[in-house]
Amino acid sequence: MPAQTKPELRIETSDGAATLAVSGPLNKNTLRAIWPQTQAALARPGAKRLTLDMAQTCSADTSAAAYLLFVKRQAREKGLEVEVKGVPQNLQSLLSLIREDDLDPLCRWWKREGVFEAIGGAASRILADVYAMLVFVGEITFGLASALRHPTRVRWRDTLYYMNRVGADALPISALISFLVGFILAFLGFMQSHQYGADVFIADLVAYGMVRVFGPLMIAILCAGRSGSAFASEIGAMEIAEEVDALDTMGLERARFLIVPKMLALLTMMPILVLFANLAGIAGGFFIGVFGMGLSAPIYVQRTVQILTVWRIASGLVKCLVFAVLIGGIGCLRGFQTRQGPQAVGEVTTSAVVSGLFLIVCVEAVFAVVYHYLGL
């Protein structure tokens, strides 16, 4: 007789008793062959008692043991009496390692969580996140307040280092981006205002738009991407290397060491970056207005100066201070939330940028309304 390469399942039913007889090699590579038949037999047994006969099986492995357990449980769930006979020696010793009753009901863990479970889980995570943010806001406020009271205890060397990274290093890219934004604004404005012969108002649009919205917004987006993410990954790596725990156990405030220098750097450098960005944006608009659309340069400058009141410039700077707190706060918070594992730092970095951007846009919307009613 040639060696059998696939298992076979014979099903015999006689007065209320069904027998499933498996023969041939039953293992991880072959089990699939008798699977549909097995499921069909278990779905409609047409009997009160079921016997699984494995005497003719060979080269059985763990999957054969799992098959045996599966048949047994399914049959019991249908209320059948089950008997298993002819279990090969190696399967018996394998099964002796397992406490059958302790295996939870069939495949429960394999199923994904339900819709309500998922919604509930997400809601409770968001609540916990909001709570963590509130606690953290307290910690930051306390840290900054104590920095004001005891300026000598601030780690100025770290602060200067972060100021360099947050501010000076970001200057070229922020100037370029702002220049292009001014450029785009001028183009957009031209397409509309040209229809009414109001070309000269492009100067107003660009200057006002940069100072009130786009200067602070572009810098905030840039800093969230550059600095917020860097803070999160830096603190995350420290968290994994247990450096943060070391600070805590030495009785050193993490706020003073890790948060305050970063926050001070953002709070001082972001307004400066915004001023540069405003300038670059207006230059971009000027470039298009004067060289592209043939407006007169002195008039362009005159209109720009007219619309730029101190209050308007200041309103943009106030907004950017709020952005600085958000970006620094979220960056540090996410860093401290790092768990173990290789992808942990990547996760918190992404999360720092995404939550940072989300909060920036929310705050921007609030400011738009508030400034409108203040008549700025």
């Binding site: 991880k28 699939r32 295996l103 495949c107 173990q340």
Partner: protein, 255 residues
């Protein structure tokens, strides 16, 4: 005795110019627990990494079931790789997957088993290593000893002929480590799995090892081969006897 399942023949390992192991020969027999032993930096882990095919030998060859992993590729290589499982020193669990998914991965990728059976196998393997009910946990949520055991469950998922262990007790407390030793003995007794263990934990060696080889970091050779108690009591080299008695030699030993 039984036939060899792993044959290391005239094997030489190098990192660039540095010679790590120089023309060594040994065999692992089917069903035995074989321990590779030696001080830090003697090339234990290097040897293991060559045996499991991560590196290619600089000379000689390593046969698993008579097949040379370094020369095989494509389907043949996969077929050889499926005959063994590896428990890495840091357990090597994928952090993005739950413990259950980690164990299920090789089953899903390398077999055609239906999901219901895979789920049961995963539970059985986890129960064998004493991790019943931890399927949903992420590796970051369980302790070091549990990670080792979860890694072992994953290494055993495909019922391999051979299990390789790289420093299984590293970073474990003595009790957990002893528990792991008992687990290995139990698995070998019921499944007949061949085990190759790289370690320098003496208590563990006395408990589990059928045979050991001891690597010598100076000569880059095998310093001793045999049963651990015999080596401790009767080996001609005093350095080997001292090592097994956990004593520093007259000159503080050589490491």
């Amino acid at each position: 005795m039984t036939e060899p399942i792993i044959q290391v023949e005239d094997f030489t390992a190098r990192y660039g110019e540095a010679l790590i192991l120089d023309h060594i020969n040994f065999q692992v027999r089917r069903g035995e627990i074989f321990v590779v032993l030696g001080g830090s930096g003697c090339g234990k882990s290097t040897l293991l990494k060559h045996m499991i095919g991560l590196y290619k030998p600089a000379g000689g060859r390593i046969l698993i079931n008579g097949q040379d992993l370094a020369k095989a590729d494509g389907a043949e290589r996969i077929q050889i790789l499926r005959t063994f499982g590896v428990l890495f020193q840091g357990s090597g669990l994928f952090g993005s997957m739950s413990v259950g998914e980690n164990v299920a991965l090789p089953l899903k990728e390398h077999t055609t088993l239906p999901p219901e059976i895979i789920a049961l196998i995963v539970r059985m393997k986890l129960q064998m290593v004493g991790l019943n009910g931890f399927e949903h946990h992420l590796p970051s949520e369980i302790s070091g000893g549990m990670k080792k055991r979860a890694g072992l469950a994953r290494a055993m998922a495909l019922d391999p002929d051979i299990l390789f262990f790289d420093e299984p007790s590293a970073g474990l407390d003595p009790v957990t480590s002893a528990g792991l030793d008992q687990l290995l003995l139990k698995l070998r007794a019921s499944l007949g799995t061949t085990m190759v263990v790289v370690t320098h934990e003496l208590p563990s060696i006395y408990t589990i090892a059928d045979r050991v080889i001891m690597l010598d970091s100076r000569k880059k050779k095998i310093a001793a081969e045999g049963k651990p108690l015999e080596l401790r009591d009767t080996h001609e080299d005093p350095w080997v006897r001292d090592f097994f008695r956990r004593q520093a030699g007259p000159a503080g030993g050589h490491v």
